[in-house]
Protein backbone atom coordinates (compact mmCIF):
# COMPACT_ATOMS: atom_id res chain seq x y z
CA UNK A 1 0.00 0.00 0.00
CA UNK A 2 2.88 2.27 0.85
CA UNK A 3 4.23 1.56 -2.61
CA UNK A 4 0.97 2.72 -4.19
CA UNK A 5 1.17 5.97 -2.30
CA UNK A 6 4.75 6.47 -3.39
CA UNK A 7 3.88 5.71 -7.01
CA UNK A 8 0.96 8.11 -6.92
CA UNK A 9 3.30 10.89 -5.86
CA UNK A 10 5.82 10.01 -8.60
CA UNK A 11 3.11 9.89 -11.26
CA UNK A 12 1.70 13.18 -10.11
CA UNK A 13 5.20 14.63 -10.34
CA UNK A 14 5.57 13.33 -13.89
CA UNK A 15 2.19 14.74 -14.82
CA UNK A 16 3.16 18.17 -13.52
CA UNK A 17 6.46 18.04 -15.41
CA UNK A 18 4.71 17.09 -18.64
CA UNK A 19 1.94 19.63 -18.44
CA UNK A 20 4.36 22.38 -17.46
CA UNK A 21 6.24 21.44 -20.64
CA UNK A 22 3.09 22.19 -22.61
CA UNK A 23 2.27 25.39 -20.81
CA UNK A 24 4.82 27.33 -18.86
CA UNK A 25 2.14 29.68 -17.51
CA UNK A 26 -0.25 27.83 -15.28
CA UNK A 27 -3.13 30.33 -15.35
CA UNK A 28 -5.91 28.64 -17.23
CA UNK A 29 -9.39 29.72 -18.20
CA UNK A 30 -12.14 28.15 -20.27
CA UNK A 31 -12.83 29.22 -23.85
CA UNK A 32 -16.36 30.15 -22.83
CA UNK A 33 -15.16 32.49 -20.06
CA UNK A 34 -12.37 34.04 -22.11
CA UNK A 35 -14.17 34.56 -25.44
CA UNK A 36 -17.94 34.73 -24.72
CA UNK A 37 -18.56 36.98 -27.73
CA UNK A 38 -17.45 34.22 -30.09
CA UNK A 39 -20.29 32.12 -28.70
CA UNK A 40 -22.77 35.02 -28.85
CA UNK A 41 -22.05 36.00 -32.44
CA UNK A 42 -20.96 32.63 -33.87
CA UNK A 43 -19.19 33.94 -36.98
CA UNK A 44 -19.18 31.47 -39.88
CA UNK A 45 -16.62 33.08 -42.14
CA UNK A 46 -13.28 34.77 -41.53
CA UNK A 47 -11.65 37.26 -43.85
CA UNK A 48 -7.94 36.60 -43.38
CA UNK A 49 -6.15 39.82 -44.17
CA UNK A 50 -2.52 39.69 -45.25
CA UNK A 51 -0.34 39.90 -42.12
CA UNK A 52 1.09 43.13 -40.72
CA UNK A 53 4.83 42.65 -40.57
CA UNK A 54 6.30 44.26 -37.45
CA UNK A 55 9.38 42.03 -37.49
CA UNK A 56 12.80 42.88 -38.88
CA UNK A 57 12.54 40.40 -41.75
CA UNK A 58 10.98 41.78 -44.95
CA UNK A 59 10.15 38.32 -46.27
CA UNK A 60 8.17 37.32 -43.20
CA UNK A 61 4.88 38.70 -44.56
CA UNK A 62 4.75 36.66 -47.76
CA UNK A 63 5.94 33.50 -46.08
CA UNK A 64 3.76 33.76 -42.99
CA UNK A 65 0.74 34.45 -45.20
CA UNK A 66 0.94 30.89 -46.57
CA UNK A 67 0.42 29.37 -43.12
CA UNK A 68 -2.73 31.08 -41.82
CA UNK A 69 -5.64 29.70 -43.86
CA UNK A 70 -5.22 26.06 -42.98
CA UNK A 71 -5.26 26.11 -39.14
CA UNK A 72 -8.31 28.39 -38.97
CA UNK A 73 -10.20 26.32 -41.55
CA UNK A 74 -9.38 23.21 -39.53
CA UNK A 75 -11.00 24.87 -36.51
CA UNK A 76 -14.26 24.93 -38.47
CA UNK A 77 -14.44 28.35 -40.15
CA UNK A 78 -14.93 29.29 -43.76
CA UNK A 79 -11.76 31.23 -44.58
CA UNK A 80 -11.61 33.60 -47.53
CA UNK A 81 -8.71 32.57 -49.82
CA UNK A 82 -5.91 34.88 -48.64
CA UNK A 83 -3.94 34.92 -51.90
CA UNK A 84 -6.93 36.22 -53.88
CA UNK A 85 -7.87 38.68 -51.11
CA UNK A 86 -4.32 40.04 -51.11
CA UNK A 87 -4.21 40.53 -54.89
CA UNK A 88 -7.69 42.04 -55.10
CA UNK A 89 -6.85 44.59 -52.42
CA UNK A 90 -3.70 45.56 -54.33
CA UNK A 91 -5.74 46.01 -57.51
CA UNK A 92 -8.07 48.24 -55.54
CA UNK A 93 -5.09 50.47 -54.76
CA UNK A 94 -4.55 49.35 -51.19
CA UNK A 95 -0.89 48.60 -51.52
CA UNK A 96 0.27 48.48 -47.93
CA UNK A 97 -0.94 46.62 -44.92
CA UNK A 98 -1.27 49.77 -42.79
CA UNK A 99 -3.93 51.09 -45.19
CA UNK A 100 -5.62 47.72 -45.21
CA UNK A 101 -5.74 47.47 -41.41
CA UNK A 102 -7.25 50.96 -41.24
CA UNK A 103 -10.14 50.11 -43.59
CA UNK A 104 -13.55 50.42 -41.97
CA UNK A 105 -15.03 47.05 -41.14
CA UNK A 106 -18.30 47.75 -42.93
CA UNK A 107 -16.37 48.33 -46.18
CA UNK A 108 -14.70 44.94 -45.79
CA UNK A 109 -18.05 43.39 -45.01
CA UNK A 110 -19.61 44.91 -48.14
CA UNK A 111 -16.81 43.70 -50.34
CA UNK A 112 -16.16 40.19 -49.04
CA UNK A 113 -19.28 39.34 -47.07
CA UNK A 114 -17.31 37.88 -44.17
CA UNK A 115 -18.78 37.78 -40.65
CA UNK A 116 -15.44 38.63 -39.07
CA UNK A 117 -11.95 39.78 -39.97
CA UNK A 118 -8.79 38.04 -38.84
CA UNK A 119 -5.87 40.38 -38.26
CA UNK A 120 -2.39 38.95 -37.74
CA UNK A 121 0.67 40.88 -36.63
CA UNK A 122 4.10 39.30 -36.93
CA UNK A 123 5.89 40.56 -33.81
CA UNK A 124 9.07 38.55 -34.08
CA UNK A 125 10.63 36.53 -36.89
CA UNK A 126 14.33 36.46 -36.12
CA UNK A 127 17.30 34.65 -34.71
CA UNK A 128 19.51 35.82 -31.90
CA UNK A 129 22.87 34.48 -32.95
CA UNK A 130 25.80 34.64 -30.57
CA UNK A 131 28.29 32.30 -32.27
CA UNK A 132 28.22 29.65 -29.57
CA UNK A 133 24.45 29.79 -29.15
CA UNK A 134 21.47 30.59 -31.33
CA UNK A 135 17.74 30.99 -30.75
CA UNK A 136 15.03 31.40 -33.34
CA UNK A 137 11.81 33.22 -32.39
CA UNK A 138 8.53 33.44 -34.23
CA UNK A 139 5.80 35.41 -32.47
CA UNK A 140 2.40 36.34 -33.83
CA UNK A 141 -0.46 38.38 -32.33
CA UNK A 142 -3.83 37.62 -33.80
CA UNK A 143 -7.39 38.85 -33.38
CA UNK A 144 -10.84 38.22 -34.75
CA UNK A 145 -13.07 41.30 -35.04
CA UNK A 146 -16.77 41.21 -35.92
CA UNK A 147 -17.70 43.07 -39.11
CA UNK A 148 -21.23 43.47 -37.73
CA UNK A 149 -20.56 45.02 -34.33
CA UNK A 150 -16.84 45.97 -34.66
CA UNK A 151 -16.23 44.13 -31.38
CA UNK A 152 -13.10 42.15 -30.76
CA UNK A 153 -14.30 38.56 -30.44
CA UNK A 154 -11.00 36.76 -29.88
CA UNK A 155 -7.32 37.54 -29.54
CA UNK A 156 -4.29 35.45 -28.72
CA UNK A 157 -0.54 35.23 -29.13
CA UNK A 158 1.42 32.33 -30.57
CA UNK A 159 5.14 32.26 -29.87
CA UNK A 160 7.74 29.62 -30.61
CA UNK A 161 11.33 29.88 -29.42
CA UNK A 162 13.59 27.25 -30.92
CA UNK A 163 17.12 26.53 -29.70
CA UNK A 164 19.36 26.09 -32.74
CA UNK A 165 22.55 25.64 -30.72
CA UNK A 166 24.55 22.56 -31.65
CA UNK A 167 25.72 20.60 -28.62
CA UNK A 168 27.62 17.44 -29.44
CA UNK A 169 28.57 15.12 -26.61
CA UNK A 170 32.27 14.70 -27.12
CA UNK A 171 35.21 15.06 -24.82
CA UNK A 172 35.22 18.83 -25.17
CA UNK A 173 38.21 20.80 -26.25
CA UNK A 174 38.81 23.33 -28.97
CA UNK A 175 38.19 21.02 -31.95
CA UNK A 176 34.76 20.13 -30.66
CA UNK A 177 33.94 23.73 -29.89
CA UNK A 178 34.75 24.69 -33.48
CA UNK A 179 32.60 21.85 -34.82
CA UNK A 180 29.70 23.05 -32.66
CA UNK A 181 30.16 26.68 -33.68
CA UNK A 182 30.09 25.74 -37.36
CA UNK A 183 27.06 23.50 -36.90
CA UNK A 184 25.24 26.26 -34.99
CA UNK A 185 26.01 28.73 -37.79
CA UNK A 186 24.64 26.30 -40.37
CA UNK A 187 21.53 25.65 -38.26
CA UNK A 188 20.98 29.40 -38.06
CA UNK A 189 21.50 30.05 -41.75
CA UNK A 190 19.25 27.25 -42.94
CA UNK A 191 16.50 27.52 -40.31
CA UNK A 192 13.06 27.39 -41.88
CA UNK A 193 10.92 29.97 -40.08
CA UNK A 194 7.73 28.71 -41.71
CA UNK A 195 8.09 25.39 -39.92
CA UNK A 196 8.05 27.24 -36.58
CA UNK A 197 5.35 29.65 -37.72
CA UNK A 198 3.09 26.64 -38.25
CA UNK A 199 3.71 25.54 -34.67
CA UNK A 200 2.99 29.08 -33.44
CA UNK A 201 -0.30 28.93 -35.39
CA UNK A 202 -1.28 25.71 -33.67
CA UNK A 203 -0.76 27.47 -30.32
CA UNK A 204 -2.92 30.35 -31.59
CA UNK A 205 -5.76 28.38 -33.07
CA UNK A 206 -6.08 25.87 -30.24
CA UNK A 207 -7.59 28.72 -28.19
CA UNK A 208 -10.21 29.63 -30.81
CA UNK A 209 -13.76 28.46 -30.11
CA UNK A 210 -14.53 26.08 -32.97
CA UNK A 211 -16.58 27.24 -35.95
CA UNK A 212 -19.71 25.83 -37.61
CA UNK A 213 -17.88 23.25 -39.74
CA UNK A 214 -16.29 21.61 -36.69
CA UNK A 215 -17.90 18.75 -34.73
CA UNK A 216 -17.40 20.52 -31.39
CA UNK A 217 -19.01 23.80 -32.51
CA UNK A 218 -20.83 25.36 -29.53
CA UNK A 219 -19.75 22.38 -27.38
CA UNK A 220 -16.25 23.52 -26.41
CA UNK A 221 -17.03 26.31 -23.91
CA UNK A 222 -15.54 24.19 -21.14
CA UNK A 223 -12.18 23.56 -22.83
CA UNK A 224 -9.31 24.93 -20.75
CA UNK A 225 -6.81 27.23 -22.42
CA UNK A 226 -3.85 29.22 -21.13
CA UNK A 227 -5.00 32.64 -19.99
CA UNK A 228 -2.17 34.61 -21.50
CA UNK A 229 -1.26 38.21 -20.96
CA UNK A 230 -0.57 39.59 -24.45
CA UNK A 231 3.18 39.71 -25.12
CA UNK A 232 4.16 43.24 -26.00
Amino acid sequence: MKLMKYLAIVLLGILVLFTSGCAPKINTITKGEKFPKMYDQQPRSLLILPPMNESTDAEAKDYYMTTVEMPFALMGYYVMPVEIVNDVMKQEGITNTEMLYDLPLNKLQEYFGADAVLYTRIKKWDTSYMVVASHLTVSVDSEIVSTKTSEKLWSYNGTVVQDLTNRSNGGGGLAELIVNVIATAINTATADYVKYARIANIKLTSSVPTGPYHESHMKDQGIQIIDQIPVK
Binding site: L11, A73, I84, D87
Partner: protein, 129 residues
Protein backbone atom coordinates in the same frame (compact mmCIF):
# COMPACT_ATOMS: atom_id res chain seq x y z
CA UNK B 1 3.45 -6.50 -4.20
CA UNK B 2 3.71 -8.28 -7.54
CA UNK B 3 0.08 -7.65 -8.26
CA UNK B 4 0.51 -3.96 -7.73
CA UNK B 5 3.54 -3.81 -9.99
CA UNK B 6 1.59 -5.61 -12.68
CA UNK B 7 -1.17 -3.07 -12.43
CA UNK B 8 1.30 -0.20 -12.57
CA UNK B 9 2.78 -1.66 -15.75
CA UNK B 10 -0.53 -0.99 -17.45
CA UNK B 11 -1.27 2.31 -15.80
CA UNK B 12 1.97 4.01 -16.85
CA UNK B 13 1.52 3.65 -20.63
CA UNK B 14 -2.12 4.70 -20.33
CA UNK B 15 -1.14 7.85 -18.48
CA UNK B 16 1.63 8.51 -20.99
CA UNK B 17 -0.89 8.29 -23.83
CA UNK B 18 -3.31 10.63 -22.05
CA UNK B 19 -0.56 13.17 -21.40
CA UNK B 20 0.78 13.06 -24.94
CA UNK B 21 -2.72 13.32 -26.36
CA UNK B 22 -3.20 16.39 -24.19
CA UNK B 23 -0.18 18.05 -25.76
CA UNK B 24 -1.28 17.41 -29.32
CA UNK B 25 -4.78 16.07 -29.92
CA UNK B 26 -4.52 14.03 -33.06
CA UNK B 27 -7.69 12.45 -34.37
CA UNK B 28 -7.27 9.69 -36.92
CA UNK B 29 -8.26 11.90 -39.84
CA UNK B 30 -8.07 15.68 -40.20
CA UNK B 31 -11.25 17.70 -40.81
CA UNK B 32 -10.04 18.36 -44.37
CA UNK B 33 -7.41 16.78 -46.60
CA UNK B 34 -5.04 19.53 -47.70
CA UNK B 35 -2.61 17.13 -49.43
CA UNK B 36 0.63 19.07 -50.06
CA UNK B 37 -1.12 22.43 -50.40
CA UNK B 38 0.65 24.24 -47.56
CA UNK B 39 4.17 23.26 -48.67
CA UNK B 40 3.40 23.91 -52.33
CA UNK B 41 1.92 27.32 -51.56
CA UNK B 42 5.01 28.23 -49.52
CA UNK B 43 7.36 27.03 -52.30
CA UNK B 44 5.29 29.05 -54.80
CA UNK B 45 5.60 32.25 -52.72
CA UNK B 46 9.34 31.69 -52.31
CA UNK B 47 9.92 31.24 -55.99
CA UNK B 48 7.19 31.88 -58.55
CA UNK B 49 8.15 29.73 -61.50
CA UNK B 50 6.12 27.68 -63.98
CA UNK B 51 7.27 24.58 -62.03
CA UNK B 52 6.17 25.85 -58.61
CA UNK B 53 2.85 27.02 -60.13
CA UNK B 54 2.26 23.58 -61.62
CA UNK B 55 3.13 21.92 -58.31
CA UNK B 56 0.66 24.17 -56.47
CA UNK B 57 -2.07 23.30 -58.99
CA UNK B 58 -1.29 19.60 -58.57
CA UNK B 59 -1.49 19.81 -54.77
CA UNK B 60 -4.84 21.59 -54.93
CA UNK B 61 -6.19 18.96 -57.33
CA UNK B 62 -4.98 16.21 -55.00
CA UNK B 63 -6.73 17.90 -52.09
CA UNK B 64 -9.95 18.22 -54.12
CA UNK B 65 -9.83 14.59 -55.20
CA UNK B 66 -8.81 13.25 -51.80
CA UNK B 67 -11.79 14.20 -49.65
CA UNK B 68 -12.29 10.57 -48.56
CA UNK B 69 -9.18 11.07 -46.41
CA UNK B 70 -10.94 13.60 -44.20
CA UNK B 71 -13.50 13.62 -41.40
CA UNK B 72 -15.80 16.03 -43.21
CA UNK B 73 -15.68 14.30 -46.60
CA UNK B 74 -15.75 17.83 -47.99
CA UNK B 75 -13.11 19.81 -49.82
CA UNK B 76 -11.34 22.44 -47.66
CA UNK B 77 -12.52 26.08 -47.79
CA UNK B 78 -10.95 28.08 -50.60
CA UNK B 79 -9.53 25.13 -52.54
CA UNK B 80 -11.80 25.55 -55.56
CA UNK B 81 -11.36 29.32 -55.41
CA UNK B 82 -7.57 28.98 -55.34
CA UNK B 83 -7.65 26.58 -58.27
CA UNK B 84 -9.89 28.99 -60.17
CA UNK B 85 -7.46 31.80 -59.47
CA UNK B 86 -4.58 29.79 -60.95
CA UNK B 87 -6.75 29.15 -64.03
CA UNK B 88 -7.48 32.85 -64.29
CA UNK B 89 -3.78 33.74 -64.13
CA UNK B 90 -3.09 31.08 -66.78
CA UNK B 91 -5.57 32.80 -69.13
CA UNK B 92 -8.43 30.34 -68.72
CA UNK B 93 -11.38 32.54 -67.66
CA UNK B 94 -14.10 29.94 -68.28
CA UNK B 95 -12.39 27.34 -66.11
CA UNK B 96 -11.90 30.03 -63.48
CA UNK B 97 -15.62 30.91 -63.46
CA UNK B 98 -16.49 27.21 -63.18
CA UNK B 99 -14.22 26.78 -60.14
CA UNK B 100 -15.51 29.94 -58.44
CA UNK B 101 -19.04 28.65 -58.96
CA UNK B 102 -18.19 25.32 -57.29
CA UNK B 103 -16.68 27.21 -54.33
CA UNK B 104 -20.02 29.00 -53.89
CA UNK B 105 -21.96 25.74 -54.02
CA UNK B 106 -19.78 24.01 -51.41
CA UNK B 107 -19.44 27.11 -49.19
CA UNK B 108 -22.32 29.61 -49.51
CA UNK B 109 -20.31 31.96 -47.22
CA UNK B 110 -18.16 32.77 -50.26
CA UNK B 111 -21.05 33.77 -52.52
CA UNK B 112 -20.63 37.55 -52.39
CA UNK B 113 -16.88 37.44 -53.02
CA UNK B 114 -17.05 34.77 -55.72
CA UNK B 115 -19.81 36.69 -57.53
CA UNK B 116 -17.59 39.78 -57.45
CA UNK B 117 -14.73 37.85 -59.01
CA UNK B 118 -16.98 36.32 -61.67
CA UNK B 119 -18.42 39.74 -62.55
CA UNK B 120 -14.91 41.14 -62.92
CA UNK B 121 -13.84 38.32 -65.24
CA UNK B 122 -16.94 38.76 -67.39
CA UNK B 123 -16.39 42.51 -67.56
CA UNK B 124 -12.76 42.20 -68.65
CA UNK B 125 -13.66 39.49 -71.17
CA UNK B 126 -16.36 41.80 -72.52
CA UNK B 127 -13.92 44.64 -73.11
CA UNK B 128 -11.56 42.30 -74.98
CA UNK B 129 -14.17 41.48 -77.65
Amino acid sequence: MKKILKKVKYIVPVIAVIILAGCAPQPAKPLYNYAGYSDSYYAYKKNMTPESTLQLEKSIEEAINGTENSRSGRVAPGMHANLGYLYLKAGKPNEAIASFTIEKTVYPESTLFMDKLITRIKASEGTKK
